[in-house]
């Protein structure tokens, strides 16, 4: 809660710092047709003559009463803009999250249980490579290969152009979602794989694994019967904790694929200085990331008694 308030204060402060005049941004190209008196009127109507502290308090009050403000680039209340886009973004984020989790655990266990083998080297090499790959470049390559050259997937948006969003069938929707989700998932896989691999390497050297080996269990048996449970919970925890990175990636992926979700709205708001929208999204993602961190904390406390003890000690 305190962190959320701080996020609000920091992002509000940053907006105040901005040299871009909100009245100019609102007027856009009509700037030249408006007299200084009219500008002063607009500024007064919006409360820009008050001190930043008063403005901040006012904004917080509005926020608590559920009033997020008006987005001038979409000509809609901010809550509507977010409401229309949030489910599309959640589809993308959720799909990518689940996929990267499944792939990360799978690859991590495969690599970690065969430490030093060619499979391990291949998977680790791949993970190091994707960890250094720019998200938006990968998205561009995917778009170039699958949409432009091969023509398997559409080049943009969440549905065919010229069709109302209500009339888009779930199948077409999925078709449009496929490439962005895959791209986003591929990037999350790297850290999860390396993390799971390290856990598995440690596990395969443990007494539990030695005992299982002594009983005549095969390597694959040990990896999947014991290792899966051992390594998957830390991976899920890490995946919850890295929700912020995933959202950051979705900003770029949605931009490249012109996918009309929250990330695209964020970029548009930043480029065209839509302050209320930008602030609302910052708060929303902070909430989202905090929930993810809480889930990660809760999970690690549930599964690892040591963290529970260290918490009570403090």
């Amino acid at each position: 809660m305190l962190v959320l308030l701080c996020v609000a204060a920091v992002s509000f402060g940053l907006m105040m710092l901005s040299p871009i005049d909100p009245v100019d941004a609102y007027l856009g190209p009509q700037m030249a047709q408006v007299s200084p008196e009219q500008r002063a009127l607009i500024a007064e109507r919006w409360g820009f003559d008050a001190s930043p502290a008063v403005q901040f308090r006012h904004w917080l009050q509005q926020l608590l009463s559920g009033e997020l403000g008006w987005s001038h680039i979409y000509h809609q209340p901010v809550s509507d803009v977010i409401g229309q886009r949030v489910h599309r973004s959640f589809l993308l984020l959720g799909g990518a999250w689940l996929l990267s989790l499944a792939l990360g655990i799978l690859l991590g266990i495969a690599a970690g249980s065969n430490e030093g083998s060619w499979l391990d080297r291949l998977i680790s090499g791949y993970a190091y490579l994707t960890a250094s790959t720019p998200t938006f470049w990968l998205a561009m390559l995917a778009l170039l290969l699958f949409s432009v050259t091969l023509g398997w997937t559409p080049t943009c948006c969440a549905g065919p152009t010229g069709v109302l969003s209500q009339e888009v069938t779930p199948l077409t929707r999925l078709h449009h979602l496929l490439l962005p989700t895959l791209t986003l998932a591929l990037l999350g896989v790297a850290t999860l794989t390396l993390h799971t691999r390290a856990k598995m390497v440690a596990f395969m050297r443990s007494d539990t694994a030695l005992h299982a080996f002594a009983q005549g269990a095969s390597r694959i048996d040990i990896a999947w019967r014991h290792g899966l449970g051992h390594a998957s919970l830390p991976a899920i925890t890490l995946a919850f904790a890295s929700l912020g990175e995933l959202f950051g990636g979705s900003l770029l992926v949605e931009h490249v694929f012109a996918y009309p979700g929250l990330g695209q709205a964020t970029v548009a708001a930043g480029l065209r200085s839509d302050v209320p929208l930008l602030l609302a999204i910052a708060l929303f993602t902070a909430l989202f990331v905090s929930v993810g961190n809480l889930a990660a904390d809760g999970l690690s406390r549930l599964t690892d008694p040591r963290t529970r003890r260290s918490h009570t000690n403090e």
Binding site: L2, V3, L4, C6, V7, V10, S11, L14, M15, L17, S18, P19, I20, Y128, L129, A131, S132, T133, P134, T135, F136, W137, M140, L141, L143, L144, V148, T149, T155, G244, E245, F247, G248, G249, L251, L252, H255, V256, T266, V267, G270, L271, S273, L278, I281, A282, T285, A286, V289, S290, N293
Partner: protein, 267 residues
Amino acid sequence: MSSQPRLIAAGYAALLALLALLLLGSTAWLGDSPTRMQFAARLLPPSPEHWLGTDALGREVWARTLAGLALSFQVGLSAALLGTLVALSLASLAMLSPLLDALVSLLIDTLLSVPHLLLLLLIAFALGGGTEAVIIAVALTHWPSLARVLRAELRHVHHAPYVAISRGLGKGQGFIISRHLLPHLLPHCLVGALLLFPHAILHEAALTFLGVGLDPTQPAIGVLLADAMRYLTGGYWWLGVFPGLGLLLMVLAIERFASMLREVLAR
């Protein structure tokens, strides 16, 4: 045997230094080739005359890519150094009193709960864009994780016997920080800065790609890729593939060097 990793790391360092020199010097020997337009040679695919092809204004992609990498290198280096400096000063500040410590922790938690890229967007917006704004924005978003490591490390040394002896001898807090704590932290800072470096480069490129970073007239990698986006549906693959590949290789090289150095120093 134990000297082998050190040797490899040293060799790697020399290679990277050479690369850095090459990139930083490239502005001199490239001359105006990254920006020279040849209208007779627009959007040509890679060939012996045009190594990596040309863009929509007939500019050489290879020259623009090199210039972009040099720019990324400079921006990344400045941002990583600045970020490390911020992390170090705030981590030391946190040692001075419990109140300051709580404040710094709160700031770290706050900044870590906003996705990097969104925070970058907010800061770049607040500063109005441009090269300095990008450097400051990247530095300001990347210090928290390093500051956390440094803070933990500081607390660890703070209770070490030699520090306790120094304190027993009546040395002041300032003396202990500058003589005992900072020298211990130096290797951590070095590795931290190096690990920040690739992140800084990637985030600078992403920010520029989105249009809120470096000036679009400069041949930055983000600008090149944003340009390539516009011609993507036409199938002009060389515009996007080569600059991105260059960026990937540079980031990968620095990343590997940083982790190798960390292993060597951890011994």
